[in-house]
Amino acid sequence: MTIRTPSRSIFRPQHGISQEILRENKRLIERIDRRNVLRGALSLGALTLLTGCDVSENDQVQTFLRAVSTWNDKVQSLIFRPNHLAPTYSESQVVKPPRFNASYDPQDVKPVDGASWKLELSGRIENKKPWTIKDIYALPEQELIIRHICVEGWDYIGQWSGPNLRAFLERIGADLSAKYIAFRCADGYTESIDMPSALHPQTILATKYAKEPITDPFGFPLRLRTSTKLGFKNPKWLVSMEVTDVFPETYYSKQGFNWFSGI
């Protein structure tokens, strides 16, 4: 039995290691205090862990953050360009069916009965007679092929058509100098938009998607569709519309989402 003699590694220096580099950088190496580095790294780590317990829900913090959000509403209404059109797209780019967005799953959508459905009107409107599907379908249609952008960050191109909201407001004798339009939906959802956004040329009451009546998950029989707001500002299954000067809080603004949410 032979005992193997390990051969000398070819990577091993022939004449020992030069200590020159160490001598030259002695001052620098002395300064690297491992304990200090570790301590620093640990404090930094601890700082990031602080976010684990959320300070956002603290009343004072929430009051402050919501005040900033209200300030951001004002800034957004100043930035808003009333006649600047959002980019439009070709029919070949339209996604069918549209992407579903709601606070619940599509299978939980309760379909609206079109035959008994009515759109109720209230607030600063001259003619508050409720509208039926037939009445709405009899109005001239406008088609929009626009990008839907969700607050979460996803987007798709959709093809929507229905009466222009500005034309509709004029027809019912709404006071266009009022501040807000508030909507209520069949599922209890509430939404409201500022008057300038309501009067934007690309804001419609949509009845159709890709030239067919909107299907149940996407707002049958009537929904709002505007090119200048995030997805959640486009309520589906509308049952009432109010023209008002009193700020109407909404389903999502009550939870702390930014109210204006323009894009």
């Binding site: 030259e24 300064r31 790294a41 959320d54 829900e57 600047h84 980019p87 989402f257 894009i263």
Partner: protein, 218 residues
């Protein structure tokens, strides 16, 4: 000509540095929260303990609060850097042959830390680079925030999702920078101390570059 003596990091620089540090912390933490709701890469979700805001709306609230601090502070910093000549003095000129020499020195562990008032070429490049990335982060952020009102800006990026990707990549570059920056500051702690105390007193007059090739006389 009077040679006024100043500290390495004048008070405005120190205030803006730490304001920026806090704002970055808010923007990155809340940005990760927002990212998680619609990830760009299926394999990448940020763990909850690294994000700011328990629910989506809180993350959004922090992000759209932090944006004011980071933009106003950043504007003040850029104006200050240009108006006082600090950028010109500290970050320029960036010379190619010096870059190679610095990398060479760094690899042989021969980097000099003796003069903290002068940045080496790698530092200059990184600082100029991260300022440019910061500006691109704000531009891509504005394009995502207002893709219709600023549709001209969005057009620079091609599409909404491209702008999101650019915004994300800018964040990644900044996080990398911060990791290196913090590690080096901890390795040479007196740089960290001088960002609090102001550091050594320096002569603000432009230095004569010692790394200039010296003409040899016969």
């Amino acid at each position: 000509m009077t040679h006024e003596l100043k500290k390495l990091h004048p008070t405005p620089i120190r205030i803006m540095h730490w304001t920026n540090a806090v704002a970055m912390f808010i923007m990155i933490g809340s940005g990760w929260k927002i990212y998680n709701d619609e990830v760009i890469f299926g394999w990448l979700h940020f763990p909850d303990f690294l994000t700011i805001g328990k629910w989506a709306q809180y993350g959004l609230q922090w992000h759209f609060f932090g944006m004011w601090i980071i933009v106003l502070n950043g504007l003040a910093y850029v104006c200050y850097g240009i108006a006082t000549g600090r950028f010109r003095r500290m970050l320029f000129p960036i010379r190619w042959h010096e870059l190679i020499a610095t990398i060479h020195d760094a690899l042989r562990l021969r980097l000099s830390h003796d003069d903290p008032t002068r940045y080496n070429t790698v530092q200059k490049l990184l600082y100029v680079g991260v300022i440019c990335v910061g500006i691109l982060t704000v531009i891509s952020g504005l394009a995502i925030w207002k893709p219709v009102q600023f549709s001209e800006l969005l057009a620079l990026f091609g599409s909404f999702q491209n702008a999101r990707l650019v915004h994300f990549l800018c964040m990644s570059a900044i996080v990398l920078f911060v990791a290196v920056h913090v590690t080096l500051a901890l390795l040479v702690p007196r740089t960290l101390v001088s960002m609090i105390t102001g550091g050594p007193t320096v002569d603000p007059a432009p230095h004569v570059h010692s790394l200039e090739p010296i003409e040899s006389t016969p």
